[in-house]
Each structure stands twice: as C-alpha cells, then as structure tokens.
Symmetry: C2
Subunit: 457 residues, 2 copies
C-alpha cells in the first residue's frame, strides 16, 4: 500500500502537475506566436494596399476591415460548428463545475479545447479588444481532465475519482491564469478567489507548482525569440524611481478606489444587458500591449517644459496628441469611452473571449487621465515640480488594478499587477485602491463572472 | 433588520478590522523603537567600558555579557510571574485555537498580551537570535479578542459569537505576520497556510484590509523617524540588475532546494530535542538587520580583481574577512554553524520567541556561501565575468526563502521575500527552490509549528 501511495504521489501528483504546466506553456507560446503573425500580416496588408498606385483611402479601409472581419467570422463559424461550448470566457462555467452545481456536457472534452484554442487565436489575431485569461482557464481545465484520464487508465480505483477531479480542476484554473500573465503567485490566488468559496490548503502547493512550471517554461521559450531579450523580466516592466509614491498621495489613491465604482457598475450592467449578436462588425486596431506600455510609461505627458526630466519622448506624444493639435485629455477620454463600448460590444460576439485584459486597459487609460490631471492641478497650485513627485504612470497602474478588482471582485489582482510590472513600489497604493473599489462595488453588483453565470442560467 | 446588518458591517467589520491594523502598527512601531534604544545602550556601554583606563578585556566582556544576561533574565522572570502563557512562539497555539481542538485558558487575555510585549522587547533588545513574527501573531490575536469584546457589549446577539470569533482570529493572524515584515500580501497568505487547513474566501478581504491598514500606518510612522528616509520602500531593499537571473542558473536554484533538506531536517530535530533550560547563558551580538543587509548586497565578496564592477566596499570585506586574513568561506561557514546552534539554544529559553527570522538569516548566510562558491567555480572554468552574471546576493535571497519554506512548510514565504526585498526579479528562482525544499522536506518531518504543538501536547 505504501508503494502504491508513493507511485500515486510521484506519478499522478508531481508529474501530472508538471506536465500540465509545461503543456500549457507550450500552448500559450504557440498561440502567442500565431497571433503575432496574424497581426503582422494585417499590418503588411495595410502597407501593401497603401502602396498600390490607384488605391484610394476607401480601398485601404475596406482591405483593413475585411481582414479583421474574415478572421472574426472564421472564428465564429469554426467554434459554432465544432464546439459551441467554447464560446465565452470560461471562468463562470468552471466555477459552476468546481462548486458541483452543474454538469456541463462535453464542456471539458478535447474537441472543445481545440475549438477554443483555434477560435481564440483567430479572434485575438484580428485585433478585437478581448482577453485570453478566461479562455485559458477553460483550456487548462480541458488539458488537465485529458491528462488525468490518461493516468486513470493504469492506476484505477486508487483514489475516489470525484476527489481527484476537483483537485485537478483547481490546479488547472491556477495554471490558466498564471500562463496568461506569466504571474505564478497572482495566478494561483486569482483562480482561488474566482472559482471557489472555500479552499483546501492541500491544493495550494499543487497550484503553485504547476504555475511555476508553466511560467518557467514560458520564459525559457520567450528568450529563444530573436526579437525579445527580456528574460525573467515582467511582461510590462515598469521603471519608476523608488520614491515615486509619497505619503501625501495615499488619500488620492484611496479616492481612486471610490471613483472607480460608478464606472465599474456601469460597465457591468452595460456589458451584460447588451443585445446579443450585434457586435459582429466591430473592428478595432488597438493592441493591448502597446497601449499599456504607453500608459505605464514613467514620463509625464502633460509636461510642456522641454528640460523637465520626465518629459516624454516625441514619438509617444506624437501618437497621443496628433502632433500637438489635440489635448491629451481629449484623446485619453475618447480612448476610455471607445474602448469601454468596444469591450462591451465584443462580449456579445459568439467567440471565445475574456474580459480581464480589456478591463485592465480601460483602467490603465483612466488612471493615466487622473494622473495627468493631478500633475496639472499641483502645478497650478504654485508648487513647482521638485516638491511633490507625481508620476502619472503609477496612477495608471493603480487604477488598472482597482478597476479589475471592482469588476471581478478579487483582491489578488494586486498581486498579478505586481508580477506584471516587475516592480513593487506601488504595492500599498494598489492594495488600498483595490480594497476600497472592491468593497464598495460588491454592495451594488455581483462580480462579472457571477453575473454571466446568472444570465446563462 | 437591514439597518442592523449595515451597522454590523460598518461598525464591527470595517472599523474593527481597521482598528486592529492601526493598533498593531502602533504597537509594532513602539516596540521597534524600544528595542533599538536597548541595543544602542548596549553599544554605548561597551564603548564606555573600553574607555575606562584600567579596564582589561575581561571587564569589557563581563560588562557586555551581563547587560544581555540582565535583560534575558528580566524577561524570563517577568513573563514567568505575569503570564507564563506568553512563553514561546504563539503560532502553534493559535493553530490549535482556530481549528477548535483546544481551549487554552487565559491565552488571549490582556494580561498575557502585555507580558508578551514586554518580554519580547526585553529579549529582542538583548540581542538574542530570535524572531518576533510568531509572538506578534499571538499579540494581534489578543488585541483582536479584546476589541471584539468591546463591540460585543452594545451589539449583543447580533451574530453567533463562535462564528465571529474564528473570523476575528484569522484576521488577527494575518495582521500579526504583515506587521512584522510590513508585507501585507505575504502576511495574509502565510497566516492562512500556517493556521488553517481550509480557508473561507469571505475572510480573505478582511485579512487584506487589516494588513494594509497596518502596513500603511507602519510606513507612515517610519517616515517620521529622522534617521530613516525609506518611505514605502521594502525593509531589506535590494538593488540587483534585472538580468541577474539567467536561464542557465535555474537548475542551480532547483538544486539549492535539495541541499536545504538535510539542513532543514537537522534543524528541526535539533531544535525540538534540545534539553530545556540550558540556553540561559548564551549571548550573541548578531543584529539580523545588518547581517541580512550584508548577505543581500549586490556585490560579490570573493572577487579579488579591484576593477570589477561588483567588487565589494572595503568596510563590508573588512568585517567578513578580518582585513583579508581569513577567507570569507571560513567566516561564512562559522556564521552558519554558530547561528544554527544559537537559534536552537534560544528556543529553549522560556521567553516569547519566534523562529522565522533566525531561520531566514541562516538561510541567507548559507545562500551567500553557495553563491560565492558558484562564482569561484565558474571563474576557474575559464569563462570570464561577462559571460554569466552570477550575483551571489540572489542565491542568498533564494536560499533564505527556501530554508524558511522547508522549516515552516509554506509556499507563501516566497511572497514575503518579494515584499521584503522590494524587487521581484527572482520570483521564479524563489518559487522553484521553495517548492522543491518544501515538497521533499514534508516527507521527513512535520513543520516546526506542528512539531511544537506535538511536544507541548
């Protein structure tokens, strides 16, 4: 019996968990590569169509739009015919499965997984503002179930299947989140908060182990790419000076948490009450990665003084002010509103889509807006730059975390943000804003995942 | 009824939780100040006794020793007569109370709390290698119970007392850990891992809120001190370059996890089987803070080339090599062995004492040793410095985390380390080492807290 236990521990627990992490890392890496290729072709097609001598701007527009449309429609059709279960985020369904309230037929089959992967790659490549963190939780769960079926074959009746099942799924959810952001700690915590009400400590290490395997392999793979030289560095590495958070700013961060609430509530209601099937023709070309890099940049956009140490580079300002003709406040507000509406519309398309990343980007843009306003407000105050270091990028990070926390009702978003940015100067502001946004928001609306569950029945 | 619920939420939940955090921050701050004064007087006394013309080195020795002895004995006597329940760490007892297996009489009374605070201040000030994280968990729990008794007075029978009690205690444990290291996230996770087998998500935010309040107030207080200018900065801020962790080093970090095991097991056995009442006369003058700052420094100790960018400052080398006469490997090994034995001896003194910090320091010293050996090994290999950046400080951090993880059987040590050092370049190495050390060590020995519970019955 002891020998059997050991075999169980080594084979089923450790190697299964490690395998799950490694497979998910490979899947995530491959998908990211494909998505990048699709995006690059899109850009190339645009420049090609521009270079055709007789092309008008209408032709360029149609080329651009139809490319996106092609991919979104292919994704919709593929998912519809192969496995309609692959539509949507995946987190609400996983929550239902883990809590044991529903058994969804075919939801964790291999077919659904393939449909989800393909559909997600196509729709993300087309440039829609959707996330991949919810779908990845679903994919990881499918992979985990397939893997444990393999081992069940030759170690039958060792442990009751029901118990194993929940354990394996809880681990899979952790890997799913960790894989998207390559944030092992935050991933485990987020998955716990989102999927379960009670949590067994015995599952804890399993989640951490799988997430660490996944993050490790992912980073090792990323370093192989010739264009990326960022090994073991965060996805959105920030470079704020350590004194960018001063005590006088703490009330401002707490206030951010309060501002977030009306937006969060509006977003939730709008996202969920939007008539289905309307958003098929929406096209947007806003790459999350670039937008976030801009918002989190340590420079201050609204500084006009050329000699200021935090003056932005010309390229960034050119993009957001259209060569100085438009105020950044106008462009930022427009970005927030447009992205807000686009994300809500995208929720309605029947493709595999997550909500986390778009919500995060909206929060970042809004935070940048507030941060720049703060800079202006304190400069008019008569006090010059040296007195109070307001780094608008920090507001952007804090606000992104608070908005995500408000919409998903989780605290662990703060850990994910710390891991994403690779810095932890702002851990206290982030925690303050997330907690306040979270606490007050929870009295108005259930979390987005719970709301989706309710609507889907 | 709705009004009553609201009152409960606002008064009992929010303000009670915030109060707990703030009171603990004030307590922690006052104690730290007192401890620093006692330590400073110790140093002053030493220099005074040196300056007396007729003093021999024996007199100096006796002065130094008797000062420590005085404080340790005062602490022992005080605790013995006021409240003997205050002896020891506190985490094993809290675990027993939360799981509901035992009711310890007078354990959470105000008298015990005062005895613990005074005893801890005296014994920490005397310079013994003991920690304050376990005792702080106990103190926080006592404060929480007193606070909730206050509110019970005028909102009786609103909620069943038993339920509230467990909730409040779980929050208190989180605050206790968070307060010691000013690490809100790691504190909450560590307290969950150490005190409970199952964890209710509904307690989650309460722990985070209290811990954030505590960390916020603590940092605001620290910034008031004239000598400290580190606001919102980590306790042991490190300054490693982002590329200090390269993929080729990952196996080395995993290997560290394995090396840790025999040491961990030996430590546990030795710490617990040591005859009681023997260590009363041990004196050590090793300040954790300075030692850790040395071990975590980004420079490389064993570099002899003067022009090397990572060459250490003369002061640090002077301390550890005695002006170049002794190899750093000898001094480091001696430090590890001496600290190891001292910590075990200190466990036997009947004073309030934690195990976390000493274990952390031993791990850091051992990691520094391994890191320096790695540097030597790779330099002899013929490859010059530019090729592989081995930063021994990173090994020190990783090893400290792994050793703590092995002894306490927790994964969240990795989060605490990230928060302590204020950097997260090494999150992946830390996780790898902690998981391996943890997993293998758990097959040999229960965690230190469980072992103490068993011995105490």
């Amino acid at each position: 019996c002891n020998w059997r236990t050991l075999r169980h521990v080594i084979i089923e627990d450790w190697s299964l968990t490690a395998c799950l992490g490694i497979i998910m890392a490979l899947l995530s890496f491959t998908m990211d590569l494909c998505i990048e290729y699709i995006e690059d072709w899109h850009d190339e097609l645009l420049s090609l169509s521009k270079n055709v001598p007789s092309a008008t701007s209408l032709v360029t527009f149609i080329t651009w739009t139809s490319y996106t449309l092609l991919f979104v429609i292919t994704s919709t059709v593929f998912v519809h015919f192969v496995a309609p279960q692959a539509i949507g985020s995946g987190i609400p369904e996983m929550k239902a499965i883990i809590s044991g309230t529903t058994i969804l037929k075919e939801y964790l089959s291999l077919k659904t997984m393939i449909a989800k992967c393909v559909g997600m790659t196509l729709s993300l490549g087309s440039g829609l503002p959707i996330g991949k963190e919810g779908p990845f939780v679903h994919v990881a769960s499918s992979v985990a179930v397939s893997l444990s079926k393999l081992t069940f074959g030759w170690s039958k009746n060792l442990f009751p299947q029901e118990v194993r099942y929940t354990e394996v799924l809880a681990t899979a959810c952790a890997v799913g989140v960790a894989c998207t952001f390559s944030a092992p700690v935050g991933g485990v915590l987020f998955s716990i908060e989102v999927t379960s009400a009670y949590f067994a400590k015995s599952n804890y290490w399993r989640g951490f182990f799988a997430a660490t395997c996944c993050a490790g392999v992912l980073r090792l793979l990323r370093v192989q790419l010739p264009s990326k030289d960022d090994f073991l560095v965060a996805f959105y590495q920030t470079h704020y000076p350590p004194d960018s958070v001063t005590p006088d700013q703490l009330p401002a961060f707490a206030f951010l948490g309060f501002i977030i609430i009306p937006i969060g509530v509006t977003f939730l209601i709008a996202a969920l009450t939007f008539p289905l099937g309307y958003g098929k023709y929406i096209v947007g070309h806003l790459k999350h990665r670039d937008a976030l890099a801009h918002f989190f940049h340590k420079c201050t956009w609204s500084v006009s003084n050329e000699s200021h140490p935090l003056k932005c580079g010309a390229k960034l300002l050119h993009y957001w002010t259209a060569d100085g003709t438009v105020s950044i406040f106008v462009t930022l507000s427009l970005f927030v509103v447009a992205f807000f509406l686009l994300t809500i519309l995208c929720n309605a398309i029947p493709i595999p889509a997550g909500q986390f990343m778009p919500v995060f980007v909206i929060g970042a843009a809004f935070g940048r807006l507030i941060g720049e306003l703060m800079v202006i407000a304190y400069h008019e105050d008569g006090s010059n730059q040296a007195h109070m270091h307001i780094v608008p990028g920090v507001y952007s990070v804090v606000c992104a975390a608070a908005f995500c926390g408000a919409v998903t009702h989780t605290v662990s978003v703060s850990v994910i943000v710390i891991e994403l940015t690779g810095q932890n100067v702002f851990i206290l502001p982030v925690l303050i804003a997330v907690l306040i946004a979270n606490a007050v928001c929870s009295y108005f609306q259930p979390s987005i995942y719970e709301s989706i569950s309710k609507i889907k029945g």
